[in-house]
Point group: C2
Chain length 476, copies 2
């Protein structure tokens, strides 16, 4: 008996070289037309954005195919024949149905498949992953992962993922998730509270309060001071209560750290890495880009081509402020702003947008930020006012990469820590590394999900991610 | 002024082609000999397991070098000259010191560097990452990551990482971490308890109880039913209160899922993947293996060579039990066991060891396990007693891979769920995928940290991981 289990051929590999042979093809129905004496089915299988046309004029097979919906899974045995109209293509004449996935609830299922708003699809993950848009987005996402590994490997970087569970808090912010085993027991085994009403973490799994990491940077700095060049693709987490298009509670974080590097090195690496990714997708996934270019993301191909056409602009924070002052009327009218940032302020998303989209119309590095805006570990410039930190702003997105040279001098770090009144008791291991034989390092972090947004033109970050997790959103 | 910031050359790229040129070299002191009129330093920089020898006879430079310890960071400008005794090697004659990392506490630091027990080093992460053993282990770990990405990419698999924060619990076990923002506030903002003393998760970040994932498998099954072949390198988490050499609370989990595949396909893929990795390390990291082969892991090279020399053994659970019965006296005496597993029992780590190490002396697939030993999603065999599940047992390690064909029939899944009295309310999204247009899929999971142990010969899994997190152990 023939079965779907026999070796099948990926749709990406079906060419006219197979003409007249009998093959097994497996996949999902993208569209179908079933008439009295003939049936046509477009089948996709994930291996390519292309589909293959199946046809049959066999009445008993047509009868069986009548239960098919868009999205039904199907395995058939068939003969490769010439496409009747398209010279260079082939189609498959069905000989036998090997498997046909039962639809228990056709009405609901078809309805879901037809409701194609990206937002609606998020509530029907099983339908979502079979659509034209999402198969293209996820193929591009996976390709960006491969491009990322190839790029850093070729530059001699070691891929290592530090701990996600941490007892420190890298950025010193409060937006963290606590993790605990004190609450798991549904028999009412609730946390023991001490007399000041604080949870007693000494009884918890790690004997102290543990969090999900917000960044692997400090761990990478330590690994860097022994391996020279390291990077991670760890997830990072923020318990920010925001419901924007740009933020997730869980995100894929590409971070790298290099010993003996300068801010210019970081900008070079950031530019090389992102342009390598854009070129990789333009070269290897034009089919998927063309699919997205049709409806969801018009103009995506031109945009990516423009990003690789020239070097990115590099400009200091000071010079950005001069531009903002000069163009203040323009900015205020475009974004309906009353007040613009002064020296020492955060630029804000509107001004960042203006600089990248209106002024330069390309990705822009802004560097040498005021020291009080940035973290304790950043190296100060000689002006005493700014730090060797840099953000990469991308048109249509905003900040993609944040980077900095780290302060390697233990005494200078401790001076900033004291001035900021920081509690660094959980950073002992890190400070020890800076205290003895400290190595100058520099590094950067990129939001991978944002990179996927750029390369697919997807508006909402939830649609760039296989299973998005955000404030009040986690159903799986 | 010369500075360490000028372009330097990786030690892996210093060859006799550079003879007589002046270069910048950066790195860390592996060993040193400082005499009255001459100083020798072996420097490493992470790019290779090899070191480069620096020498100087300049008295003013020697004076400055006197503060160096093993592990000190150092940047120098120097001339590439012939090695006095080794024909094919070069060394560097120091012209100028560009950077020398200050050791605030030389006495402690040297002591740490000399206490080379792997266990002691875990308390001194900054020293650990500079040692011969750990630079080799971490380079091999990073290489395994690259090999993994190359392998699955070449087979047409899409790399996608599902959610780590989950509201489901894949395996139905209780060993999970709860994550919450109810406990973050150190002002005593403690959880609200309802009248039955259960924490009110409707007030939490996700409006329900959320966990760290124990496996991405169910999410991969859904992605697979639209993309055909998918894999992840997500971390998984277990809150198991064990302190063994083999278990971590956070581990890197390579999981893959294929549509339309059989148990034989899974065994083929598991064998191809692991042998690809072993060959990759044997081909690209012989230097690092030789380093480990000297002290930490004697015999590691031979072991890896034997694992790629022939196909792995494949044997059913039933046949394993026959062997156990036949060899019962031998097993009882080796492992001091009173009772051996009967049909229906878990094999136990001793019998697994016996099968892989004593009987077959190579990696062994054991398949067709009794259904009650395995999870609800596994496909039953026609005998009504066993499932299409398989474990790969490796000599010196135990279980490396667990895999199975998934039950695709919604009604059969629900029958098992009912029989086991499982609460599947959090798996709605998954069951929906099985209810409508279900696709046959099969998949596997491999503990990446265990793969690193095999490829490095490292005994304790904590030493195969950059920052190990385990029960009562998380200091960073």
């Amino acid at each position: 008996m023939t079965s779907y289990k026999q070796k099948h051929i990926d749709i990406s590999k079906i060419t006219s070289a197979l003409l007249s042979t009998t093959i097994t093809v497996n996949g999902w129905v993208r569209s179908l037309r079933i008439q009295a004496t003939v049936a046509f089915i477009e089948l996709h299988d994930g291996s390519t954005s292309k589909t293959i046309q199946l046809i049959t004029e066999d009445l008993s097979i047509i009868e069986k195919l009548k239960v098919l919906c868009i999205g039904s899974s199907l395995s058939i045995l068939g003969e490769v024949v010439k496409h009747p109209t398209k010279e260079d293509q082939v189609e498959i004449k069905i000989k036998e149905i090997l498997y046909l996935g039962k639809i228990h609830d056709p009405l609901t299922y078809i309805l879901n498949a037809k409701k194609t708003s990206l937002e609606t699809l998020r509530d029907h993950m099983d339908v979502r992953v079979k659509t034209r848009t999402f198969t293209a987005v996820f193929r591009i996402r996976a390709a960006l992962s491969k491009a990322t590994h190839d790029f850093w490997h070729n530059l001699g970087f070691h891929h290592l993922n530090p701990n996600i569970i941490t007892t420190g808090d890298c950025e010193g912010g409060g937006e963290v998730f606590t993790l605990t085993t004190l609450l798991n027991n549904d028999k009412g085994d609730i946390p023991t509270l001490d007399k000041t009403d604080i949870v007693d973490y000494s009884k918890d799994f790690f004997q102290k309060q543990a969090f999900l990491t917000v960044s692997s940077q400090l761990q990478l700095e330590l690994l860097c001071a022994g391996l020279g060049k390291v990077w991670t693709s760890n997830k990072s987490f923020r318990s920010e209560k925001s419901k924007t298009n740009r933020h997730l509670a869980e995100f894929e974080h590409i971070e790298w750290e290099v010993a003996w590097a300068t801010l210019d090195d970081l900008m070079d690496q950031s530019e090389m890495y992102t342009q390598f990714c854009f070129n990789y997708i333009l070269t290897n996934h034009m089919d998927d880009l063309e699919e997205l270019n049709k409806f969801t993301s018009k103009g995506i191909i031109e945009k990516l081509q423009s990003f690789v056409s020239k070097p990115y602009k590099r400009i200091t924070y000071n010079d950005v402020l001069l531009i903002i002052t000069e163009k203040q009327n323009d900015i205020k009218s475009i974004y309906k702003l009353v007040e613009l940032p002064k020296w020492g302020d955060d630029l804000g998303s509107e001004c960042e947008k203006y600089i990248a989209e209106v002024v330069f119309k390309q990705p822009v590095f802004v560097y040498n930020y005021p020291k009080d805006l940035k973290s304790f570990y950043m190296k100060h410039n000689e002006d005493g006012k700014t730090v060797q930190g840099c953000d990469l702003l991308v048109p249509g997105l905003g900040e993609l990469i944040g980077s900095s040279v780290r302060e390697e001098d233990y005494d200078k770090i401790m001076a900033v820590v004291a001035q900021r009144k920081m509690d660094v008791s959980s950073l002992k291991w890190y400070l020890e590394m800076r205290r003895n034989g400290s190595t100058p390092t520099a590094g950067a972090g990129l939001g991978f999900d944002r990179l996927v947004r750029i390369c697919t033109g997807i508006e909402n970050i939830r649609d760039a991610v296989p299973f998005p997790v955000a404030y009040q959103e986690c159903a799986y």
